[in-house]
């Protein structure tokens, strides 16, 4: 019996959307396939906490099921969750949002990003974003008909995007900038000063900002500044955030968007036709997460911080220069001493030493020469991974 695959590939050019065909495949898929056939691998390639969702949150979700909360919710999300979020944003950042029409509950920040892009972009609109950045940013913009404009960020500049660099790329077609700090993959944060300068550029050029702040609670020794909280920025900033990282709730898929009611209204329109609403169980759990104090989050943050320091020092000790990440749970060491490309390095490291890392190029061209290593894994595993990487670097150091 002949297999159907050739038929599919023959059809593909004609039957698929040009936009989708043009999208590059995810840079990590290959490693995923390789990994699944191997044993004894230590993975620093994960993108989520190694904590399970705190029990009080899970317990609240179980209780909601017992009580029969199994229906649709309002498109915008449950009124209780939106009200609690409004309270939270007010107490943390002195931001005032009307929970009725300025907050939307989404299926993770991923959906929020997609909605934001589709709500504001017309074909050919340009969106400025850093390189490297989270894998979904350029894709979400392209799928919405926009054009991603990448601004290189470098280790020398602590992987910060600067207002000056942004301004130099503004054209009449520029509609928005898209940033996500603390940053996946680099762990970089933006200082309040730089954010103020960026806000200034945004206001002067009448732009919008999509600000993904999902890692805002995972910062070490610095304070997170919410871009929307800067003067005049509330209605220019589509604030995207969620529960995945700080509360270790990645699989629940609950995020939110906050902005003025015009933009949230437009996003809600798309959301109601495509998603309808985020899962009610997830929303119940998220409500519990917000209502409880953040003591468990603080414990997790301190725990990440200890491992962050171990891995950064570890990389430096084995001869890899490593920028000090101040947020998220990633380190982004340079592997230039080996002379290999990021992809070659990641592949060889996996095959020879069974340590999985993500090549920096998965996050943009400027990730070349770097790999992303997640330290949200147990200390013994981090130490074993460092040992194996030391052996690998010794063997492959450029002569």
């Amino acid at each position: 019996m002949s297999r159907s695959e050739p038929v599919n590939s023959r059809l593909s050019k004609k039957c698929l959307s040009d936009k989708v065909v043009a999208l590059p495949p995810s840079g990590i898929r290959k490693f995923f396939d390789l990994l699944s056939s191997m044993e004894g691998v230590i993975s620093l390639g994960v993108g989520e906490p190694d904590f399970v969702t705190p029990w009080y949150i899970r317990e609240a979700a179980i209780y909601s099921l017992e009580k029969g909360y199994t229906m649709y919710t309002s498109n915008k999300g449950t009124p209780e969750l939106r009200a609690e979020l409004a309270k939270y944003l007010n107490s943390h950042y002195s931001l005032v949002y009307n929970p009725d029409d300025e907050i939307l509950i989404t299926v993770g920040v991923s959906e929020g990003l997609d909605l934001a892009a589709r709500a504001i972009l017309n074909p050919g609109d340009e969106v400025i974003m850093p390189d490297p950045c989270y894998v979904a940013y350029p894709a979400a913009i392209s799928l919405a008909g926009g054009i991603p404009v990448r601004v290189p960020t470098t280790e020398d500049n602590d992987f910060e995007i600067t207002a000056a660099d942004i301004e130099s790329r503004i054209t009449p077609k520029t509609k928005a900038i898209l940033i996500g700090y603390p940053c996946n993959p680099t762990g970089a944060v933006l200082t309040r000063d730089e954010l103020e300068r960026i806000a200034d550029v945004v206001k002067r050029h009448h732009l919008l900002v999509i600000s993904d702040e999902i890692y805002c609670q995972l910062v070490y020794g610095v304070e997170h500044t919410c871009l929307a909280s800067l003067p005049g920025m509330r209605d220019r900033t589509i604030l995207l955030n969620g529960f995945s990282k700080a509360y270790a709730m990645t699989g629940w898929r609950i995020g939110y968007a906050a902005c003025g009611k015009e933009i949230i209204g437009a996003m809600t329109k798309i959301h109601q036709y495509t998603i309808m609403c985020a899962s009610i169980m997830g929303q119940m759990a998220a409500l519990e997460a917000l209502k409880s104090n953040d003591r468990e989050v603080d414990v997790m943050v301190r725990d990440y911080d200890r491992r962050r320091r171990i891995i950064v020092k570890g990389f430096r000790d084995i001869g890899l220069s490593c920028f000090e990440p101040k947020g998220a749970f990633y380190a982004f060491p340079s592997i230039k001493v080996t002379g290999m490309s990021s992809e070659e390095f990641a592949e060889k490291l996996l095959m020879e030493e069974k340590v999985a890392v993500v090549p920096g190029t998965a996050f943009g061209d400027c990730g070349e020469g770097y790999v992303r290593c997640c330290y949200a894994t147990s200390l013994p595993e981090i130490e074993e991974a460092l040992k194996r990487m030391a052996r690998f670097i010794d063997k492959h150091r450029k002569k």
Binding site: V46, G47, V52, D305, R309, I310, A356
Partner: protein
Amino acid sequence: MKQIFEALEKDARLTPDQISTMTGISVAEVKKAIKKAEQDRAILRYKAIIDWTKLGEEEVLALVEVKVVPQRNVGFDAIAERIYRFKEARSVYLASGTYDLAVIVACRTMQEIAVFVSEKLAPLEAVQGTVTHFILKKYKEDGEIFEGGEEVKRLPIAP
């Protein structure tokens, strides 16, 4: 400084070097802080949490509720001391409620516990009565879940 002890409480085998890296506090400072905590008995001891049943060893535990008559000037302290000096008394707490002292008694056999309670504990002059509950199964001790602890089911690679 709290960071030092939080790290140690989680893993007592961490070296001062490791703790220094983890906290950004110098090795000398870490050593000093630990030494002082040991001297002040803020750190009492370093121990392992062991599931003896997995090692094939028998151990019987009982929670004994003890009702006592507090004494003039010393309250419950004197009788608590009389009890906690027995090596069989693994933990001793003063508790609010219908009884006064909660004593966790550990022995090798049920018989030994029975003998300890009836011959040592109950006859003490200040003790008015005891209620002994044998522990049937340990689920969690000192924050550690004994069986079926949580394994993180993550994808090995994610964006």
